[in-house]
Amino acid sequence: MNYMDYLKTQKFPLFWCGGCGNGAVLGAIVRSFAALDYTLENTVVVTGIGCWGKADDYLTTNSFHGTHGRALAFATGIKLANPKLRVIALMGDGDGVTIGGNHFIHAARRNVDVTAILVNNFNYGMTGGQYSGTTPENSLTSTSRYGHIEAGFDICKLAEAAGAPFVARTATDNPPAMEKLISEGLDKKGFSFIEVIAPCPTHFGRNNGMRQAAELMQWVKDKSVSVAKAKTMSPEELHDKLIMGKLVDVDGEDYGSKYLRVIASASSGNEE
């Protein structure tokens, strides 16, 4: 299939602001779908609530648009009930790791075979740029006018600690790298997590003196270090940096596959 076949072009123009990173991420996702030969019938895109959560509006696959923060819990039920489905959860940083943090760590720990693509724009875009669990300390947001006093999450570290077998961080300023990591994550069996750093010029940018998406991209670039480079740096040097690339790629049996053994034991009367 051509990547355009996954897009509901009749719903264009996109709801997102000019300079928003979401469109680029959506582009990388549909190109990955095409590259991996995903069918519309066998693919389910589960979205949260937020600007990024509106991505399903523009997709022609099966979809599930539920509640803020719960995408991975819905996705868990969908995947476990029909393991043949390709299940992808799209979440914002507020969605995925702030209100939905508990579902996130447990979906990773449980190793449910879904791909989670989290767009991190460091704030709640949809509701007007309030701070989220990833907002960096000292930034200005519409609810931290005096400077944010909480530290932001390193969500890739969180995913790794929770046991996710595939963890990657990428950014919208490098579309080929983004697409490659998204494709790898989609293709990986087990819980795969891809964090995409993306600009929200309308809120996070404007509140922090970066009205143009390009300025935000530069800010991200300045904070970025590759996985290889990070290995040569001290923890102090890495403070406030974003390590870009594939951070974890290990093999581990996913929940659905393990459960087949539960079914086998139960059927042979091994337990009770």
Partner: protein
């Protein structure tokens, strides 16, 4: 072949779910519902089904909703605090029109309350706990046999009307043991959701036009149809839609579909009502003391009868109104401070005395308390 079993209400609920064809359970343990989780974790994999223990009740109801759209009949069980956590995504099942069964084995609240003590305080929460206008189906068992039968019925109603159904049990019926029959279910006793028959390109998961019962067919994920489920305002196709006329149409539909099908949904049971001058109207565990009170009242010469509300929501207005119209007084025993009493009173404003017998101390209402109220009303 009929099998008589001596067992607990929570076991009968689990057996009923399996008999109805449920094969997916997601939940978070809580007293007094945990036996349903434990038994489901043992029984489901034997049938090729799945049990998953989620991180909380928000995730539990989300997972069963997801599994249901993937085509597997799904359920969860909980009690007070967990039922509160489920309210957000209960709304997703309402608006997304997803069949699923939520078992609430009620305990004393609010908050953590008296964790091991019974109550019937979640009647209003079952209808109004999730925000916005909508209808819901709630059934309330009063015996172990009804735990089995009504669980089967809960799944059938969920499938037929594309809706969450709440089985409003309570600690007494959930933990009580008595004989019950695992009824043999014939194929026609089990209802499955309507599937689309149109060409795939024409399928719209929320298009109920042309459906007499206002229920649109639901194709599972992974079929030849594309299924778009949406808990935000959506049109027939499932696409987000904010048009006022569309919102008016669908928000009314979430109530209308129960109104137009209420004959099939509403179930009540009558005892000694034919010649009754006074009526007891009640539900769940309070039916048990009420039946004993009825006997005592008849022995004392009070012509009492009993209307058991098996379906709580949609509220059996017609049945209640009919009883109220031909008796001289009504007593409504319930283990809360008058939640059903209010609904009963609405059907008969100020015409006959309608009084409650209420307990919120975690103790069952006794037949003598009900009898005393009947005697007062009959004076």
């Amino acid at each position: 072949m009929k099998q008589i079993i001596f067992g607990m209400g929570n076991e009968a609920i689990t057996e009923g779910a399996l008999a109805a064809g449920a094969r997916f359970y997601a939940g978070y343990p809580i007293t007094p519902s945990s036996e349903i989780a434990e038994l489901s974790s043992i029984r489901l994999p034997r049938l090729g089904g799945m049990y998953v223990q989620m991180e909380d009740e928000i995730g539990s109801i989300a997972a069963i909703i997801g599994a249901s759209v993937a085509g597997v009949k799904s359920y969860t069980a909980t009690s007070g605090p967990g039922f509160s956590l489920m309210q957000e995504n209960l709304g997703v099942a309402v608006m997304g029109e997803i069949p699923c069964v939520i078992i609430n084995v009620q305990r004393s609240g609010p908050s953590t309350g008296l964790a091991t003590k019974p109550a019937q305080g979640d009647v209003m929460q079952a209808q109004w706990g999730t925000h916005g206008d909508h209808g819901i189906i709630a059934l309330s068992p009063s015996s172990v046999q009804e735990c089995y039968d009504l669980t089967v019925r809960a799944f059938n109603l969920a499938e037929r009307y594309r809706t969450p159904v709440i089985l409003l049990a309570d600690e007494i019926v959930g933990h009580m043991r008595e004989g019950y029959q695992i009824r043999e279910l014939l194929p026609h006793d089990i209802i499955d959701r309507k599937k689309p028959t149109c060409p795939p390109r024409d399928y719209q998961p929320y298009d109920f036009s042309g459906e007499e019962d206002e229920i649109a067919p639901l194709a599972p994920y992974g079929s030849e149809y594309i299924t778009r489920i949406n808990g935000s305002g959506h049109d027939e196709s499932g696409d987000a839609c904010g048009r006022p006329d569309n919102a008016a149409k669908f928000n009314s539909h979430y109530l209308n579909k129960f109104r137009i099908n209420q004959k099939d949904i509403i179930e009540t049971k009558s005892f000694d009502l034919d010649d009754a001058e006074y009526a007891i109207i009640t539900f769940g565990c309070s039916v048990r003391s009420s039946k004993a009170a009825l006997k005592l009242a008849r022995q004392k010469g009070i012509k009492a009868g009993l209307l058991q509300l098996v379906t709580i929501w949609p509220f059996p207005k017609e049945q209640v109104r009919e009883v109220c119209s031909r008796v001289k007084g009504v007593v409504v025993p319930e283990m809360n401070l008058g939640q059903i009493l209010g609904e009963v009173s609405k059907t008969n404003p100020g015409q006959i005395p309608i009084v409650g017998v209420n307990r919120v101390d975690g103790q069952m209402i006794t037949p003598y308390e009900i009898l005393a109220r009947l005697e007062e009303v009959a004076k």
